[in-house]
């Protein structure tokens, strides 16, 4: 008899002597109940942390003021160049932040109802994975033709997550995508994106903006050209505007981007660098902003 056969016989004989607990299934279900209660408590804690972070960020944004130099300084008043007539309230509780669309990021969710609809639909699970969410964002929001995720990571328990995307496997240009986990077991949402070739001074993340949106910063791109768009609730509002920065090294750019939209809510200002070869998007910076509810399209001249 080989040693393998002896092991086989001995382990099976020993295993056959083991009787199992007849109440095992009941104990497992009790354990499931306990674990779910713990998860709910953890989710509430994460939500509270998000409320603190986002609320704090909004408070800074609301009380910061931009001037003509493009430098944002702390002070009274909103970041808008034309002050909104409605007061901006900063969410002060978990319930408020979950009811507040500003807690849902830039994409794919633009309001809380979309998050609820997604989590209650057992179909698509794409946005439960940060790398898949980042990849979908690069394709569908930034319109990169064949993006490639270099890596992603999650910082628990607060759900701060990042993913690095390249426009293709052979490219070295990178866009860093920030994501937020909406609850410990919830889906991810994109909260912004940065790249080394576009450094944005204005608008600041979380700023309240009205049309035209004033933008400034430094960039380096083919023929110095970067494209800037305003997105409201994920949709392009107005037209893409080309601004000129640096062509061989970071150079300053500034401009005013008009947009056409009624109603307010979360949105973003998106800055692109396009490929010299085929004009496709190779990298992008995305700044989340807020549009006040009472803003109306500018009257035609």
């Amino acid at each position: 008899m080989t040693i393998e056969d002896r092991v086989r016989d001995a382990t099976r004989a020993e295993a056959d002597r083991v009787e199992v607990d007849p109440e095992a299934w009941t104990r497992i279900q009790a354990g499931v109940g306990r674990r779910r209660r713990t998860q709910r408590r953890r989710t509430a804690l994460v939500a509270a942390a998000v409320a603190l972070v986002v609320g704090g960020g909004l408070a800074v944004a609301v009380h910061a003021r931009g001037d003509d130099s493009g430098v944002v300084r702390a002070g009274p008043g909103p970041t808008t160049d034309t002050a909104p007539s409605t007061a901006t309230t900063v969410p002060g509780s978990v319930a408020e932040i979950y009811a507040d669309p500003r807690g849902t990021g830039v994409w794919p969710f633009t309001d809380h109802n979309q998050v609820l609809a997604y989590v209650t639909d057992p179909g698509d699970r794409t946005f439960y994975a940060p790398d898949k969410t980042a990849l979908a964002f690069a394709k569908q929001y930034l319109h990169m033709p064949d993006p490639y995720i270099v890596g992603s990571g999650v910082s628990r328990p607060f759900g701060a997550t990042g993913a690095v995307v390249r426009p293709s496997h052979d490219s070295k240009v990178q866009t860093r995508i920030s994501l937020l986990n909406l609850g410990a077991d919830g889906p991810f949402t994109v909260t912004g994106a940065t790249t080394d070739d576009i450094v944005i001074d204005r608008p600041q993340p979380g700023a309240l903006v009205t049309t035209p949106v004033k933008v400034s910063g430094r960039s380096v791109a083919f023929e110095a050209a970067i494209a800037v768009e305003v997105r409201l609730a994920g949709q392009l509002s107005g037209e893409s505007t080309t601004l000129l920065g640096g062509s061989t090294q970071l150079g300053p750019f500034s401009g005013e981007i008009p947009y056409n939209a009624s109603g307010g809510g979360p949105g973003a200002v998106v800055f692109y660098v396009r490929s010299a070869k085929d004009g496709s998007v190779v990298e992008a910076a995305v700044v989340p902003v807020l549009f006040p509810a009472d803003t109306r399209p500018l009257p035609s001249p």
Binding site: A10, T11, A15, V18, I28
Partner: protein, 173 residues
């Protein structure tokens, strides 16, 4: 598929219960071979089922739930062994081989000696040998359960069997 072609949604609990009926006993026995303690083995396996049910959404391929459970049980058993090692640090290992006085129990004695020797193997060798020869898993399935390469499985099994042989000869002497 339900009556008249109506699709009946299967709940997560129902799917986990089906797996429980199919795998629970085998997994407790696997854990018991690794740990030598039924109560601790049940605890490890029950915890694996709890995590499976509460994290079902994160199991990318439900077809692989059994493999996931096996890995979870191995991880749980490893943690239990580590905790015990900390508790027992400094104590002399207790010989687990008690030759039977009954002549008719020679085969049973051989089995006990083998299992006792198995439990003295390093954890990875113990897992590899148990998965390969108790569960009759392939090298690839063993590698998947242990989270290592098939090359590592071959090495662990080879060294484990050699160590078992040596331990048994030592006891026989």
């Amino acid at each position: 598929m339900g009556v008249d072609g109506v699709v009946v949604p299967i709940t997560v609990e129902a799917q986990v219960e089906a797996l429980f009926r199919q795998e629970y006993v085998s997994l407790v026995r696997l854990a018991s071979l690794l740990l030598g303690d039924r109560a601790a083995s049940e605890e490890v396996v029950q915890d694996a089922f709890v995590r499976l049910q509460t994290g079902w959404d994160r199991i990318r391929d439900p077809q692989k739930a059994t493999a996931w459970l096996r890995s979870a049980v191995l991880n749980g058993a490893r943690s239990t062994i580590r905790r015990r090692a900390v508790r027992r640090r400094g104590l002399e290992p207790v010989p687990d081989v008690a030759p039977s006085a009954e002549a008719g129990a020679l085969v049973a004695d051989d089995h006990r000696r083998m299992v006792a020797a198995l439990r003295r193997l390093p954890v990875r060798q113990r897992e590899a040998v148990t998965l390969r020869f108790y569960l009759d898993l392939s090298e690839a399935a063993t590698a998947e359960a242990m989270g290592v390469s098939t090359g590592s499985v071959k090495t662990h099994v080879h060294r484990g069997l050699a160590a078992l042989q040596a331990l048994l000869e030592e006891v026989d002497r």
